[in-house]
């Protein structure tokens, strides 16, 4: 209990951000119509690629001969980047098709 409380106190800022992001996320995403649910999923993939930020920070701190960290960081960056690049690209590809249709209609 003590630990939980001190953890809460120390991370109060992050907890506010957490709470408000949760509220905001549900608010915003519940407005997305069914038609766009598949792009929403792939777009979410892309955004979850934000873990790459952590991998970059890990990597920048790693000693140049700490091959364990370098390897882990490298893997992390590759994995994150696949998500980012792939996610945004495939979402754009899908949404482009929706656009096209609009003009023809």
């Amino acid at each position: 209990m003590e630990t939980i409380m001190s953890f809460f106190e120390e991370n109060l800022e992050m907890i506010y951000l957490l709470a408000f992001t949760i509220l905001l996320g549900f608010e915003v995403i519940s407005k997305v119509p069914t038609v766009l649910h598949t792009p929403l999923m792939s777009g979410a993939n892309a955004i979850s690629g934000v873990v790459i930020i952590g991998a970059i920070l890990l990597m920048r701190r790693a000693a140049p001969d700490d091959y364990l960290t370098l390897t882990l960081g490298f893997i992390g960056i590759v994995l994150g980047m696949v998500n980012v690049a792939g996610g945004f690209a495939v979402t754009d590809r899908m949404l482009e098709m929706f656009k096209k249709k609009k003009k023809n209609a």
């Binding site: 549900f26 995403i29 934000v50 952590g54």
Partner: protein, 468 residues
Amino acid sequence: MTLDFFTDIAFLAGAIAFVWGLRLLSSPDTARRGNIIAGLGMGIAILAAMFQPMGTVPNNYLWIVGGMVVGGIAGWISARKVQMTAMPQMVSIFNGLGGACAVVLASAELYYFYDGQTALSMGELLILYLALLIGAVAFTGSMLAFAKLQGLVNDRKVTLPYHNILNLIMLAVLLGLTVYALMQGKAFGFNMAMLILALGLIYGFSFVAPIGGADMPVVISLLNSFSGLSAASAGFAYDSRIMIVGGILVGASGTILTILMCEAMNRSLLNVLIGGFGSSGKAGPAGAAGDQVAKEVSLTDAAIQLFYSNSVVIVPGYGLAVAQAQMVVKELDALLEANGVNVKYGIHPVAGRMPGHMNVLLAEADIPYDKLLDLDAANEALAQADIAVVVGANDVVNPAAETDPSSPIYGMPVLQVWKAKNVIVLKRSMNPGYAGIQNPLFFMDNTRMLFGDAKDTLNKLVQEIKNM
């Protein structure tokens, strides 16, 4: 100081861009711009992470850029190459990779901690274990989901007897071990942490194993939210606001989609997770056709009927995706419209294997979206239609959902194709669909079956009509 300011601004801008981008996704007109804005936000955030002042650190920019190039190219190519019908698989793999990334980060931080290089409070340790475990489950779970979707794995091969009880026990052990690890602090040791990771990986696999292959969309969406939550946990560990924001948004999105899917199928999440009717194994008996006979129609007859009708409603389903028949549908549509037939589409919210799946496929074929009717509008149109053409759909047009309280899909809203004057069903056999149950529609008086691969059949129909 100065640079700190700019990186902080950049992260804030990135976080706002994520929210804004998702907001714009709420309309097809702005959705593309939304995706681009979210992408720009990500770009800005990555740059900020690269150049954020961190004192004198080795930086290792070569490794970083190398990794980004490799990952970027891999991601880009797969995004360009993937077929629209394979989107569920793609999303699934991406979920897995996101989870794996969080696992990697958490492992590294745990290594430093147990190695004595860093000190962590119990709360921080908890966060790391959360990132580790949620990420691990997202990783192996997604991989198995992918394999099932791709047809690489058979449900029965990976399901043990009493699998659900086994899973519960495993989960309890996992949580118990984690609590123990938290209390032990550094004494627990990195090797034990890796044991927990291994258990987590096994659990992820085992968690997905008993779930019917056809229930994968729900699972994928759930794992999507897991991958977001693991990213958010990692964000807590790295004190990175943008990771928290991004992760939580993904978590919210996955959660909402999971709930919506369960609602549209009229099932509870628990029912999906402990393996309901989706598993093809149990469905056998319910699928028996009994002694009723379905009537077939010849290609030529079907073509004539279509040609001389006034209004046609096409109901696409999962089979359309399997057969990749979206382009031929468009061809048929154009041909009929040219002959004065009014063609619409009835889109069921859970037709196909992903929310919005049919919309994406038909969009790919350039079908204008004012022709796509949602459930209510489609049912109105069907009541007026001369012919309903069911292309590889099955459960979403099953009248038992309305009439038979004992049916597993009872209560799920369906497209009432049987209200059209005539129904033509395109599928390959009398096999059941996703829910593994027989469909009384096929035996109705105004229903005719047209067996064969959907793309094939549609091609032939187009040919027939052209020759008329």
